[in-house]
């Protein structure tokens, strides 16, 4: 055969210039083997092109759609729907590579990060990192995602991270609510992500929202599934160890 298979492939893909095209067409007319080779390339290209058509018809997961929605909306992803989306596509990428990315996302998109050095309140900055204190620490240890109690701490999800520690996403209700992810470490709850939640208003008042930064942090650190109600209660009884 005068033409390499690569040439015939390029012809089938419409990548050749006029002169080369004419040469190949002449060869195809003379030699059925050349024509068949081109036809095979076309057939395969067609099959590959349509093999993934189904993806185009799928519903876009809510958390992806939220990313490109109006930025204000993107911060107000309702937890339940985000969680439902997660059940379909639980992020299973490994932690190290994604921590950096997650960090850059936080820097890029969540200017509302609140890491005041030495600020008094529900957390304290220590040598070991940012640790939950006071009502927040108490709520992290005692509240259940499945049965919200009376404190100002609402738990989003509880799960084990890849290191095997229990972690919980939370919203701390106060004048300007805080949301975050904390993991049990020694006797403390170490805060991994802390973000300001959009101030809820109007009819949304009751439903404080988990910021994307926190949802994403959950994704990159979760090992397996979130705890169900029974497992969560058991973990609480065991002191989150």
């Amino acid at each position: 055969m005068r033409f390499s298979d690569e040439m015939l492939m390029a012809y089938a893909d419409g990548e050749l210039d006029l002169v080369a095209r004419a040469e190949i067409e002449a060869a195809m007319a003379k030699d059925p083997a050349v024509a068949r080779a081109v036809e095979r390339h076309r057939l395969l290209a067609g099959k590959i092109h349509t093999a993934y058509d189904g993806v185009l018809e799928e519903t876009i997961p809510a958390d992806l759609a939220a990313l490109v929605a109006d930025p204000e909306d993107a911060r107000v992803v309702e937890l339940a729907s985000a969680r439902a989306a997660r059940r379909i596509a639980v992020g299973r990428w490994q932690l190290p590579a994604w921590t950096a990315i997650a960090a850059s996302m936080l820097v890029g998109l969540f200017v509302g990060l609140l890491l005041f050095r030495g600020a008094p309140g529900p957390y304290e900055e220590t040598d070991r990192g940012l640790l939950a204190r006071g009502e927040l620490a108490e709520g992290l240890a005692t509240e259940l995602a499945s049965a919200p109690g009376r404190s100002n701490v609402r738990i989003g999800v509880s799960f084990r991270n890849r290191a095997g520690d229990f972690c919980r996403s939370f919203i701390y209700q106060r004048e300007s609510p805080l949301a975050g992810l904390a993991c049990h470490s020694g006797e403390d709850w170490k805060i991994r992500v802390l973000a300001e939640t959009p101030a809820s208003s109007g009819e949304l008042r009751a439903a404080a929202s988990m910021p994307m930064a926190v949802l994403q942090a959950v994704d990159v650190s979760i090992a397996g599934q979130a705890l169900d109600a029974a497992a969560e209660e058991k973990a609480r009884e065991a002191g989150w160890r």
Partner: protein, 169 residues
């Protein structure tokens, strides 16, 4: 929260591109969860670096490049930890196709899943997403000859796997 102007400009376009980004991600990651994670990361990156995008140039190629880099980084990180996941069993959505067409689509997806990373990227860009060889080579940062030979090798493998009528040989 301050959003940069360029991010606003590409946000709406990204929304329209999402189905294609998800499709390309499915080709290169071979599973649904990884694919959507990849799209998520790529969109976040695109929005924070929106100023680097040249208005008027192809947003799809730019996004595919971001996705390719993020995926290559992820693969390297996984290899370091020796935790490369096997591709999921082909069970992807194949749409409202007839049963025969669905069989072909699943065979093709399974075949593509077995290709080496770099060949899968070439197939995804040129044959699935319809980029020209030139645009695909630029997106991948390789000479056009390299792109062409990856594509040819991928096709030879797939041809052997699928046979002439598209069913597994």
């Amino acid at each position: 929260m301050s959003t940069t102007k360029p991010a606003d400009e590409i946000r709406a376009q990204l929304g329209e591109l999402l189905p294609r980004l998800r499709r390309f991600a499915r080709v290169i990651t071979r599973n649904v969860a990884d694919a959507d994670d990849l799209v998520q990361v790529a969109v976040e990156k695109a929005l924070t670096r929106a100023a680097q995008w040249r208005p008027g140039s192809r947003l799809d190629s730019w996004m595919f490049g971001i996705m390719k880099n993020a995926w290559v980084d992820e693969i390297r990180a996984r290899r370091r930890r020796e935790r490369v996941h096997a591709p999921e069993e082909a069970g992807a959505t194949v749409g409202d196709a007839s049963a025969a067409a669905r069989d072909i689509a699943l065979s093709v997806q399974a075949g593509i899943a077995r290709l080496p990373e770099e060949q899968r990227l070439a197939v995804g860009l040129v044959l699935v997403e319809g980029l020209s060889y030139k645009d695909a080579a630029e997106t991948l940062g390789v000479p056009i000859g390299t792109l062409t030979s990856r594509l040819a090798r991928a096709r030879a493998t797939l041809q052997a796997l699928l046979g002439d009528n598209g069913s597994p040989s």
